[in-house]
Subunit: 334 residues, 2 copies
DNA sequence: AGCGCATATGTAAAGCATTACATCATGCTT
DNA sequence: AAGCATGATGTAATGCTTTACATATGCGCT
């Protein structure tokens, strides 16, 4: 591996000139520049990133932590984040935290260690380890919350209007004649889950069906969707089930089938997220589409802004969602 | 941010001692060690990784490139890779290459720049940019091919017995009475795709049905599965379609339905990979399960071995696969 | 007492790129 | 022709850690 010194020697210039050729070519005379570039080519010189990072204290890396990479919803956000990062000359370090606070903190340490320049974290729960940093730096801390948000903390975020989206779904189900609706939420600790619930409640109230609303508490997983749906079907005569994730909607559909009923004839099922496979389920799933790739893109853009500006810039970006009506929902049986 | 010098000063020792407390505690007297540790605690000292990397030329990072992170098949491999890397004290840089050779090379550069210590790449196609490195270093190059392999190049790899798995699927379909079988392959350039085709052919020959084999050429995507299946259904009276990816099997199922036929009554459909959603399709998909997480784990283990041993160690690890029979395949109509 | 060895710690170089500041040359102005 | 602005390049410090080598201390042994 050749270093900048080798290049300088061979091109008969100082290391400063070599460095300038690479970073500020306009400052170097054309003839010199060409000579240096030729040597760089010959020696296949690549600047040592560690040395550059050490000198400039910029790692050109951002950390993206995700609770479950195998969930295509998160995978798409990562896709957007990777793209935005790459275009800005950053690379992405991936942290799969498996919903484990321990791992979340372990990864967040990389930010304190300045091993990365910024952090996009998906999911609720700001790692404790960052609380000092955030209270010191406020919204200048290079941290962005993707798809969730953290009420009370000065952390910028990118998400959809969860309450509005959930309300829309209730409007839609009510318009199909459903009045006995089961809801399967995400974890209560998740602000977006409680936002969705608020949206559900206010819409239900508007339609005068809040009394017959049945709430089951899930955790976004297929299994919890199945279990909670079974309870809703057995104990309450719901005619529609609205799950706060597509995964749970898959579980709920299985529960409908397991109960000897069919979807959507007997029970309508709706999800949230519009994951890649929602359209391939049978019946295809009615759901709320989130602009996942865009969430990832914007989260990184926001992060870069914070990192570069250095000025106070707490922002919560709301992106548009979309109610996607497919075949898993239908008018209530007469 | 405090540096090792701050710690040394405050603990009244040299920086060497501080460094030793962290890396070789046994060399330091207990009293001194405790004193230093206490200061480290107080100052929240974290060693600067860039400086360490510069000094030791170890980045403690590995690069994992993947053609499409939103495909759950790859996402699971990444999961395994991340886990193995984390346990070994490495972090994972994620490269989503979108099947683009340009991007593959761009990411591979990180290895030449020693920005990462090793590379696990998923998909066929070793980046050109690495060919010099590989021909120089042979199998000592810190490169491992996950789930594919590169015949002719000294690159270690981890994959299943693709020919054997494909043959098993043909055996199974033949046992159901199918003799007119359509195949939808992946790209021809992919060695595993051609291995699967070899397996298909030899099994078909064994069953005496090779003459009625119909081959369509896909690219692993849902869309290509749909298009190729349509051709197979229209132009040839196939009674079973075996796709070399679950995604294509989803497309093929759509094509069966679009032709007014039903699966599996009229046409059986089988896939490959056993992605997370294969079981949730209706009918649930018969497929070959690959141990995805394990592939990721082993790929990283192999990489670490190569990086640490430094000795000649070209290996191709074959992991077990599994034929998963679900509801998308059935006996041929009488 | 003197020697040697083990243990504990310090000194300082090295790893490589960036960049503020210094120097030098050139050409223009008056 | 002297003076100066401008442009081009060099000098050297800096960032922080690791580690080979040097030094110092203490102990046991003869």
């Amino acid at each position: 591996m050749s270093s900048i010194i080798d290049v300088a020697r061979r091109a008969a210039v100082s290391t400063a000139t070599v460095s300038r050729v690479l970073s500020k070519p306009a400052l170097v005379k054309a003839a010199t520049r060409d000579r240096v570039l030729k040597v760089i080519e010959e020696l296949k010189y690549e600047p040592n990133r560690a040395a550059r990072t050490l000198r400039t204290s910029r790692a050109s890396k951002i950390l993206v932590t995700v609770p479950d990479i195998s969930n295509p919803f998160f995978a798409n956000i990562i896709r957007g984040a990777e793209e935005a990062a790459r275009h800005a000359g950053y690379s992405v370090i991936l942290g799969d935290t498996r919903y484990d606070p321990e791992l979340e903190s372990q990864y967040a340490l990389m930010l304190l260690r300045r091993e990365v320049d910024g952090l996009v974290f998906l999911g609720h729960r700001v790692p404790d380890i960052l609380s000092d940093m955030i209270s010191e730096q406020g919204s200048n801390a290079a941290v962005v919350n993707g798809c969730e948000y953290s009420p009370g903390l000065p952390v910028s975020s990118v998400h959809i209007d969860n309450a509005g989206a959930a309300a829309e779904m209730i409007d839609y189900l009510a318009s199909l004649g459903h009045s006995s609706i089961g809801i399967i939420t995400g974890p209560l600790a998740s602000p977006i889950s409680s936002d969705r619930l608020k949206g559900v409640r206010s819409a239900a109230k508007r339609h005068g069906i809040q009394a017959s609303l049945q709430i089951g508490k899930g955790d976004y997983s297929v299994g919890s969707g199945f279990t909670e749906a079974q309870k809703l079907i057995r104990n309450h005569a719901v005619t529609a089930i609205f799950c706060f994730s597509d995964e749970m909607a898959i579980g709920a559909s299985e529960a409908v089938a397991a109960a000897g009923l069919s979807c959507p004839q007997d029970i309508s099922v709706a999800g949230f997220d519009d994951i890649r496979f929602a359209r391939f389920l049978r019946p295809s799933l009615t759901t709320i589409a989130q602009p996942t790739v865009e969430i990832g893109l914007q989260a990184v853009h926001l992060l870069l802004e914070i990192m570069n500006d250095g000025q106070e810039s707490l922002r919560n970006i709301t992106l548009p969602h979309d109610l996607i009506v497919r075949k898993s929902t239908a008018a209530r049986k007469a």
